[in-house]
């Protein structure tokens, strides 16, 4: 055999861009069976998560004292929300610094449960502060105070955060 033939006999094996498949042939019955079992355990764990979530809510946030705060942004909001701080009756309830992914999720219509806690029935004061950056790169912050009444039922409040010149901070019942 000529040298060219000799070398080509080795090299032509990898001529095509397809990768040799010996090691990749994982798609046998075992693989499918494993995949099916993984899907089953995912389903089971989701059920556990759901049951656990209900139990946790019942245990940690009884309905007569439950307060949940949710943050959302209006569609097409262009300012960059960096952080939000929430005080209830003058005491810090929570603060959150937004990652890029979280901000994108809010911009696309997601709603973030930013706080869950307990509070007695009656009137309360909610103070929301947001920090961010405008499109022109300037920092900005804005605060707003709101009163709300907590009755005997669980209370959910929606906080809508819009940039300056828009509707600003809005709080409403969900």
């Amino acid at each position: 055999m000529s040298r060219l033939g000799l070398i080509l006999s080795v090299l032509f094996l990898s001529w095509s861009f397809s990768v040799p498949t010996t090691a990749q042939d994982l798609s046998g019955d075992d693989m499918r069976s494993l995949d099916g079992q993984v899907q089953e355990i995912k389903s089971d764990v989701l059920d556990i998560a759901s049951e656990l979530g209900n139990l946790e809510e019942r245990l940690l946030y009884p309905s007569n004292t439950q307060l949940a705060l949710f943050v959302s942004m209006p569609a097409n909001e262009s300012f960059r929300l960096d952080a939000v701080k929430i005080e209830i009756n003058g005491e810090m309830a929570t603060h959150h610094i937004y990652s890029f992914q979280e901000l994108e999720a809010l911009r696309k219509g997601g709603v973030q449960k930013v706080y869950a806690g307990n509070i007695v029935t009656g009137d309360h004061e909610l103070r929301v502060t947001m920090l961010g950056k405008l499109e022109n790169g300037k920092d900005f912050d804005q605060s707003g105070s709101f009163t709300f009444n907590k009755g005997v039922k669980p209370k959910s409040l929606g906080i809508t955060l819009a940039g300056p010149g828009q509707s600003g901070i809005q709080v409403g019942d969900w």
């Binding site: 990898s14 990749q24 042939d25 245990l59 709603v111």
Partner: protein, 628 residues
């Protein structure tokens, strides 16, 4: 040997088939919004956890139209299927979408669901089912998925080896905004599959020259050129193979293979200098790449053909050193995988947070195995296994966190029980007293209300007499009863006086009746308000009392049940992770052994060729000296 064309289309589809949940104009359901928040961040477990519960709850309500999810239910059910698909739960995703399909929904929504179902079947390689789902599409079709449907249909035909049907479908997509590039390429593959070689070459040539700036279309353009060049090369049309191979971008994903093939095409028609150019570029690239390794041998071979044996010997020596080093690395990698370090590297949190985590794996000094596994990592089967393994690792982390929280739950319940239990007996005693008093007052209030209502229909002025007036009346009655002698003049006088006094009082009661009734009614109304407040306080107390009990009673069974379920799930996850991990390790080790074997073979060739080049260089030198 020509590779199966079906394998050439695989990579295109995954990226194209994903959709994202739409943004509702006015979100009415908070939990749907929360699910979207997680889904938009790629956290599909959390998204499913919220949305699944919300949809189930919606299904159970008596009046669904009053539920906040009602406005979004179609979107929510779609999203549920979508999230399940993205969380690689194809079984459940199929069920969720079938439910939409079989429901009484708008034609557009049903067609969208049929498309999604077809997509799931296609991804699971259930081609007949995919076509059946596509055949259910009829009537109004959402504009946004019109081309997607036809592209999917064409791909199903192609995967079924029905190129004629595929060609007919792809022809319609030539002018599609989204699919023109992909359709052009797949059309070429379909022609090839149908045995229409000439049309296939012409079509691939067209697909390889489309003008675009879209990265995905640029990649498919490269692929079209590479496939065209490879076909021509394999068919011995070396010269014709060169232009399409040269059109492949140098910085694209198919660059290495194109450079390699371009070198071979030039070499095959004895253009050795031209073969050296692409191989020179390629030989200096990442040494772990298959094409690079091949070029490291091919380059000195071309030098040898040009009688530059000295340079060839140096290049063979360089290749030999590189191969020897790589064989060493591969051996280390195989040992490392067998020690379990590969799986450890895969689940490292800081790696997985990076979107280019597969690339970053290469830079981990403690996991050299990843150098050689890039292609394996990119293969579909391995990806499925790998994603399953990573998902299982996530599940395990969640389950272990939950498991550790059960003790806290128990402790919390104990603390509450310790706090409330001693207080409750006294509270209950006081409550019982209050309860009986309140019930009495409620009855009294009801009686007064009844009396007021009676007075409105049947006036009874005496009922509105004051306490003093009632006493006077009673006294007058008593005095009158004592006057028993009808003949006595003094008693007759007394009786007359008593009658006069009674008349005066009756006059007063009759004339003031309406005024008194108004006052009575006003008083009753204010009493009603007070009773309502008392009732409200009573209810609040009852709720607080119930809440106190509920805060520590009734948790033992559900907590223990969940504890057992979590424990059982951890055991199952451990078992599955071990099996899945083992299959990944075996695949990785097999791949590395194959690569090592190939490299050893290359090393042998390089060693032989190196010696041969030295001989030739020496002979050549001797001939020069002889001539001199």
């Amino acid at each position: 040997m020509r590779r199966a064309p079906a394998s050439w289309i695989g990579l295109l589809l995954l990226g194209l088939l994903a959709t994202s949940p739409s943004r509702s104009e006015a979100l009415k359901d908070l939990y749907f919004g929360e699910a979207l928040y997680y889904a938009h961040q790629g956290q599909f477990f959390e998204a499913l956890e919220r949305l699944d519960g919300e949809v189930k709850q919606h299904d159970d309500v008596d009046e669904p139209e009053l539920d906040t999810l009602y406005a979004h239910i179609d979107d929510a059910e779609f999203s549920l299927g979508d999230f399940e698909l993205r969380y690689r739960m194809h079984h459940r995703a199929g069920r969720a979408i079938k439910a939409v399909l079989e429901g009484a929904v708008d034609e557009r929504i049903r067609n969208d669901a049929a498309y999604r179902l077809a997509r799931i079947h296609f991804q699971k390689n259930q081609l007949e089912d995919a076509l059946l789902a596509l055949d259910r599409i009829d009537g109004k079709i959402p504009e946004s998925i019109r081309d997607d449907i036809e592209f999917l249909r064409a791909n199903v035909y192609l995967a079924q080896a029905k190129p004629e049907e595929s060609i007919a479908t792809l022809e319609q997509l030539k002018n599609s905004d989204s699919f023109a590039g992909f359709a052009a390429y797949n059309l070429g593959i379909a022609f090839l599959q149908s045995g229409q070689r000439q049309q296939a070459l012409e079509q691939l040539d067209r697909a390889g020259q489309i003008v675009t700036k879209d990265p995905a279309e640029l990649a498919i353009r490269d692929k079209a050129n590479l496939v065209l060049g490879t076909i021509l090369l394999e068919d011995g049309e070396h010269e014709r193979a060169i232009p399409p191979l040269n059109r492949v971008r140098l910085d694209g994903p198919f660059s290495n293979q194109a450079l390699l093939s371009s070198g071979w095409a030039n070499l095959s028609i004895d253009r050795y200098e031209r073969a050296i150019v692409p191989w020179n570029i390629l030989a200096s690239r990442e040494v772990t790449d298959l094409a690079t390794q091949e070029a490291m041998l091919a380059l000195p071979y071309a030098y040898g053909k040009l009688d530059v044996h000295g340079r060839a010997a140096i290049a063979y020596g360089h290749a030999l050193d590189a191969f020897t080093a790589e064989v060493g690395k591969l051996t280390e990698s195989i040992d490392s995988i067998r020690e379990g370090k590969f799986l450890e590297a895969l689940v490292r949190e800081e790696i997985r947070k990076d979107k280019d985590w597969v690339i970053r794996l290469r830079s981990l000094p403690e996991s050299p195995e990843t150098y050689y596994l890039m292609e394996l990592l990119a293969s579909h089967d391995f990806q499925t296994g790998l994603q399953n393994y990573l998902d299982l690792a996530d599940l395990k982390e969640k389950l272990e966190t939950w498991e550790s929280s059960f003790d806290s739950f128990d402790e919390m319940v104990d603390i509450r029980a310790t706090h409330y239990q001693p207080l409750l007996p006294d509270v209950d005693t006081q409550f019982r007293e209050l309860d009986s008093r309140l019930r009495l007052r409620i009855e009294q209030h009801k009686m007064l209300v009844r009396r007021r209502d009676d007075l409105l229909t049947t006036p009874r002025p005496e009922f509105l007499a004051t306490r003093d007036e009632q006493a006077i009346l009673a006294k007058l009655e008593a005095m009158d009863a004592q006057l028993t002698d009808p003949e006595s003049p003094s008693q007759a006088d007394m009786r007359q006086r008593i009658q006069r006094l009674k008349g005066t009082l009756t006059w007063k009661l009759e004339t003031e009746y309406h005024e008194r009734l108004a006052v009575f009614d006003a008083n009753l109304r204010s009493l009603g308000a007070a009773m309502a407040i008392a009732q409200e306080q009573y209810d609040a107390f009852v709720r607080s009392r119930q809440a106190a009990t509920h805060s520590f009673v009734g948790y033992e069974k559900p907590v223990n049940r969940l504890r057992l379920r979590v424990k059982a799930a951890i055991d199952r996850v451990d078992l599955l992770m071990a099996r899945q991990g083992r299959s990944l390790e075996v695949a990785a080790v097999d791949e590395l052994i194959a690569r090592r074997s190939r490299l050893k073979n290359y090393g042998d060739k390089a060693r032989f060729a190196l010696a041969d080049s030295y001989d030739r260089a020496t002979q050549s030198q001797a001939r020069v000296e002889e001539v001199q």
